[in-house]
Amino acid sequence: MKIEVLGTGCSRCKQLHENIMQAVIAADVEADVSKVEDITEIMRYGVMSTPALVIDGVVKTVGKVPSVEELKTILAKD
């Protein structure tokens, strides 16, 4: 799956990126995780509060940093 972390580079965005990396390893899924820092790209998803998490083009969370546990649950659902 394709995972994108949307955020303009604030500390919370970095935290989300870190958490999702851990969750991906823990859940043992095949995923390509990338950061999207370009504001035009971020707005295309309709997101107004960062950080946001996008999996395969679908916005999953907005404006918060879910814990590794919560992220694992989100990954499991997909």
């Binding site: 504001i39 971020i42 707005m43 309709g46 997101v47 107004m48 509060s49 907005v62 404006g63």
Partner: protein, 315 residues
């Protein structure tokens, strides 16, 4: 009860002398710290639940039908409940402008959202009492409404960075949360927030306690009392570049007020610290050309200064 507990801890358990400087400072510190953390935990949690009903995506839709005046009032009020973090200021601003929210209305929101927040309210309520807390909300919302109307009247749309108008925004699929999800999200919002601000609270209360115990009574009256006409603008000028959260600043200002700083001056200082900051300016520079950015800061700083004078005159 809390006061008795603090006094028991400081004077009986620690054995400090009642009325001594160290004793008074320590008592003040223990009492304020416990009180603030109790308030912070409960209120941040409750506000997080309320806020989950007002995501910025919804606020935007609500305001895009807004006209001037009514829109400014709505935006300032929604600013209280919509979560705001300065790192989201750019997507938020673009989202508003793109969906047709008038520029002045957008600014009403941008002023009220960081200034009137739950942490400022808890700290004010806990340390200054509900009257000052209400005055702070009332004047914060009023400043946001008026600044937004003035910016709207100046027709500064051309000083928004050009690319903002070319961005095409997607629609996010709105997901309604269940109540238990809201509670769970509120908890995962409250815990990291407390973890982030506790050092500021401790430092703020600590400095406040030191001033409370050691600074002579009324030593600030001469410099920052109601008689000095320059105190308010100086307080605002010091407050604008300062970046701190309400949690750190308010305990210090409480001690300053006790030593003779006038109420209006204290309010103006707090508003300047929370509403405007250098990091926020740098972030907003991404969407605003310099002239609009300076106009925005200028108008808000003047409005805060006038509010300070007003309350020095009537309180």
């Amino acid at each position: 009860m809390l006061a008795n507990f603090a006094a028991y801890l400081v004077f009986t358990v620690l054995g400090l002398t009642k009325g001594s400087r160290l004793g008074e400072a320590a008592n003040f510190f223990v009492y304020d710290t416990i009180k603030i953390f109790l308030l912070l935990t409960t209120i941040i949690f409750c506000v997080a639940v309320i806020r989950s009903y007002f995501p910025p995506e919804k606020t935007k839709r609500f305001l895009s039908h807004g006209k001037e005046y009514v829109g400014n009032i709505l935006a300032a009020l929604l600013g209280i409940v919509t979560p705001f973090c300065s790192c989201s200021a750019v997507p938020l601003f673009i989202g508003f402008v793109e969906s047709g929210v008038p520029l002045g209305v957008t600014f009403s929101f941008l002023v009220s959202s960081p200034m009137v927040n739950e942490i400022a309210l808890i700290m004010l309520w806990g340390l200054f009492g509900w009257k000052i807390a209400l005055i702070y909300i009332g004047s914060g919302v009023t400043i946001a409404i008026i600044s937004g109307i003035v910016i709207g009247k100046l027709h500064l749309e051309r000083f928004v960075q050009d690319y903002v108008y070319t961005i095409k925004m997607g629609e996010i699929a709105a997901t309604e949360q269940t109540f238990s999800e809201r509670l769970k999200n509120a908890r995962s919002y409250t815990v990291p927030l407390l973890r982030k601000i506790w050092p500021y609270v401790i430092a703020g209360v600590g400095i406040g306690a030191f001033i409370h115990g050691y600074a002579p009574e009324g030593f600030l009256v001469k410099y920052a009392g109601p008689q000095n006409p320059f105190a308010v603008p100086i307080a605002v000028l010091i407050g604008v570049p300062l970046y701190s959260n309400a949690a750190g600043v308010i305990p210090i200002t409480q001690a300053l007020m006790e030593k003779g700083m006038a109420t209006g001056t204290v309010l103006a200082f707090m508003m300047a610290v929370t509403a405007l900051s250098l990091p926020e300016a740098i972030i907003l520079k991404n969407v605003l050309k310099l002239r609009l950015l300076l106009t925005f800061f200028g108008i808000v700083a003047v409005a805060i200064t006038l509010t300070g004078y007003l309350f020095n005159a009537i309180l």
